[in-house]
Symmetry: C2
Subunit: 130 residues, 2 copies
């Protein structure tokens, strides 16, 4: 990553910054704990950091950082009240995206079951987690 091809050297597509921005959102979603927290916020509307920490079972500092990632991506808002900070979804489209992802996951799993045996790369069953 010395310098070239981060932004393609040739034929820069007109919408590169937009792609970067979308990738940032995707990155924010790219962690199980963050997905879980988003789902909880979608369900409950508002949660303080310590509640979310208990939910995902990680250290508070870790959860605080996860929330910062979501905030920078523009997915959540934070509201300070007393000593606590309450996080909530910044807008409803987050729910739509999560729904679409879930729908895709469903479709992928369905398709993988029907293509069983011919498997050549889409990963197998996913029972034993790391």
């Amino acid at each position: 990553m010395s310098q070239p091809a981060n932004q393609p050297a040739s034929i820069p597509p007109p919408a590169w910054p937009r792609l970067q921005r979308t990738a940032l959102i995707a990155k924010a979603l790219a962690h199980p704990s963050r997905l879980l927290m988003l789902a909880e916020l979608l369900r409950a509307g508002e949660r303080c950091v310590c509640e979310l920490a208990a939910l995902v079972g990680a250290d508070i500092s870790t959860v605080s950082r996860h929330l910062a990632v979501l905030r920078v991506a523009g997915l959540v808002r934070d509201r300070k009240q007393g000593q606590q900070v309450f996080y909530s979804l910044r807008n409803p489209e987050v729910g739509l995206l999560l729904g679409a992802a879930d729908q895709l996951l469903e479709a992928v799993v369905r398709e993988q079951q029907s293509t069983l045996g011919a498997g050549s790369g889409t990963l197998g069953d996913f029972s034993g987690g790391r």
Copy 2:
């Protein structure tokens, strides 16, 4: 990351493997080049590796790896014909997901403009890339 809290030590949410799987999909989307390729596949239906490489302007080996990421996540399918390998979207839900992501991006940007000046963490303008 010795062992704990990857899967939360306490209260493992019932759907942890599903969250991992969803995160895998999000990770696949979390790179501008991969998003660009997906958009192209959505538009064109099918592209060989060398065409996609030209599109994103990166080394073929890099693009090949990007495509492997998309394949493992279950987003694309590959079809070999002669020397070339043609990639295409694995199912239509991928298009829906991309649409939802775009919609969310739109909403986030809109909201950030309306909250301008009160800015305290959602990143500013986004002109200078990394």
